[in-house]
């Protein structure tokens, strides 16, 4: 094997074995979840366990839709996550544009303050946040959740978009301005198309963070019909008799949207972008 950019030359065979081990470690739990989700009740508890469902069935999904509020949770998750993405993108793009295109006093200080707040852990924010939201009478509303996710995602989005905007040469905009375009026209026709991939990637990071969040929904939402998916699924587990088939089906469905988006942002992740955006 031709040496890669590494210090070591393992034989080709060894590399394949190690890669296979990595894949097994990372993906086997998912495989097991999907396999269990399609097994009929009796087969789930059979000994020794079967790798693939012998009599694949959709009954776990049926129970999930009929006996729980899964569809309502799904809808709530979509509403809350999309609203958070929309707000974050508006404030984030405007702010990042300002931080890269205009000169004003305190610009770098503002950028650093934003980075600093990114270090606040959710558990440090959530206790006072809850007390304040309660005082404002906003507890148990989706609006409170949207506010929380927007605030959590904004620092990171601002930084990421700032880096994207920095990569777009100023000269392009200046050329458009000299050609008689207004600033708005220059932004819409020159900057926006170039920044679009970055905007989409940042939007996806925000979406995944809001979609995956457990703690804020757990604390801010008290009525069952307003819960988002992570809390809804976690509560399925707290039933007296644990229905593993149904829980695995739910776990599989909540993961699907994330995986679809993941395909899109994977190349950004591997290039080292936004590794810290999704989770702490």
């Amino acid at each position: 094997m031709k040496r890669a950019n590494g210090f070591f030359n393992l034989g080709r065979q060894k590399v394949y074995w190690l890669a296979l081990l990595l894949v097994l470690f990372s993906a086997f739990p998912f495989f097991w979840m999907v396999s269990t989700a399609f097994k009929p009740l009796r087969e789930i508890f059979v000994y020794p366990p079967t790798f693939l469902p012998q009599n694949a069935t959709l009954e776990n999904f049926g129970r999930l839709f009929e006996q729980t509020r899964f569809i309502a949770y799904f809808k709530n998750s979509i509403i809350v996550s999309s609203s958070a993405v929309l707000l974050t993108m508006i404030f984030g793009a405007a702010g990042a544009y300002s931080l890269t295109r205009f000169r004003f006093k305190g610009r770098d200080k503002i950028a650093n303050l934003i980075l600093f707040t990114y270090m606040f852990a959710p558990i440090m924010i959530v206790i006072p946040f809850y007390v304040l939201i309660k005082q404002m009478g906003l507890a148990n509303t989706h609006f409170a959740l949207v506010l929380a996710y927007t605030a959590l995602c904004l620092p990171f989005s601002l930084w990421m978009l700032r880096a994207f905007f920095q990569g777009i040469p100023l000269a392009l905009e200046e050329a458009a301005l000299i050609d008689g375009a207004s600033r708005l026209q220059a932004v819409l026709h020159v900057i926006f198309p170039l920044a679009l991939p970055g905007l989409i990637a940042t939007g996806i990071f925000t979406f995944i963070l809001a979609w995956n969040d457990y703690i804020f929904c757990r604390i801010l939402i008290s009525s069952d019909e307003l819960k988002t998916l992570p809390v809804g699924i976690a509560d399925l587990y707290n039933a007296t008799v644990i229905d593993w088939g149904m829980i695995m089906a739910g776990g599989m469905l909540i993961t699907v949207p994330v995986l679809i988006f993941f395909m899109y942002i994977q190349r950004y992740l591997i290039a080292g972008w936004g590794a810290g955006a999704i989770k702490g």
Partner: protein, 290 residues
């Protein structure tokens, strides 16, 4: 009408800054303020009690236990995820067919919701029907099912799950850096007769130094304040008090005992410990530079 550059700049960035201040900075400061009060989590009454919350915690054995469990949890998960993450990144930097596919798969655990990670592993580690116990038993490694969620093993289970969930972050950061190490360095070392091991310790590791510094810092902060993974694992086990880390204890005080003041004091202490640990860490790093 021409708007000055300054006005335009401020008016675009200030709405975002306002949101961050109102929804992040203000709550954190308000939390510090609350920590000096006796305050019920639901009702508006509050009473100033000075440092009483902090003094109470100093004598509270549950607090010291949670600090201990939190430290054990963060140190062990960081060591393991950095070791595993660097090893995985080195493998994934080799050229082989299907490399991009494997890189994608390895990131899976990091992007899924924590809830899914927990239910997956609770099912795999289930003592009666879990796959792990089946394999261990079938291979003759254990004679009877291991109670992974019981008091003896729950910390190990938690560490295993957390390392699985978060090691891709290390892989991502290290892999991105590995790709930028100039091949010339390796060639020069090779010409000088350095073997594989020497090349790793004298070329790769020094190049990774800065990225590892940041990775360990971020992961340290995130593991020490990790709430959802720990909390969700404690549900329905009975051994919850053996993994009650500081964030979980702060949550319990606030939302189960309704002591918002005490909960806030715990959050403040958590922040203080983090700041102190970060300062020590920076110092060690700088000393290592000389």
């Amino acid at each position: 009408m021409k708007i000055s550059e300054r006005t335009a700049g401020y008016s675009l960035v200030l709405p975002g800054v306002f949101l961050i201040c109102a929804l992040l900075v203000y709550p954190v400061l308000y939390g510090v303020y609350l920590s000096f009060f006796s305050k019920h989590s639901f009702f508006p009454e509050q009473k100033f009690i000075g440092l009483t919350n902090y003094l109470y915690l100093l004598q509270d054995s549950d607090f010291w236990m949670s600090l201990w469990y939190g430290t054990v949890y963060s140190v062990s998960t960081i060591v393991l995820q950095v070791a595993l993450g660097v090893a995985a990144a080195l493998i994934l930097s080799q050229t082989f067919r299907g490399r991009n596919f494997v890189r994608g798969i390895v990131l899976f655990p990091y992007i899924i919701p924590t809830v899914v990670a927990i239910i997956l592993w609770k099912w795999l580690l289930n003592n009666q029907f879990g796959f792990i116990n089946y394999v261990l038993f079938a291979l003759g490694i254990v004679g009877e099912p291991v109670n992974w969620m019981g008091k003896d093993h729950i910390m190990s289970s938690l560490v295993l799950i957390s390392v699985w969930e978060f090691f891709p972050f290390v892989v991502l950061s290290v892999l991105a850096r590995l790709q930028t190490i100039p091949p010339v360095l390796y060639e020069a070392a090779k010409v000088d007769g350095a073997g594989q091991l020497r090349r790793f310790f004298h070329v790769t590791l020094p190049q990774l130094r800065n990225v590892l510094f940041v990775v360990i810092l971020l992961r340290g902060i995130w593991m020490f304040t990790k709430f959802d993974t720990v909390w969700l694992l404690t549900q329905g086990g009975g051994a919850e008090k053996y993994i009650r880390t500081l964030p979980v204890y702060a949550y319990m005080r606030t939302f189960m005992y309704y002591q918002a003041g005490l909960g806030s004091a715990l959050a403040v202490i958590m922040f203080g410990v983090l700041v102190a640990a970060t300062a020590v860490y920076f110092n060690l790093f700088r000393r290592g530079d000389e």
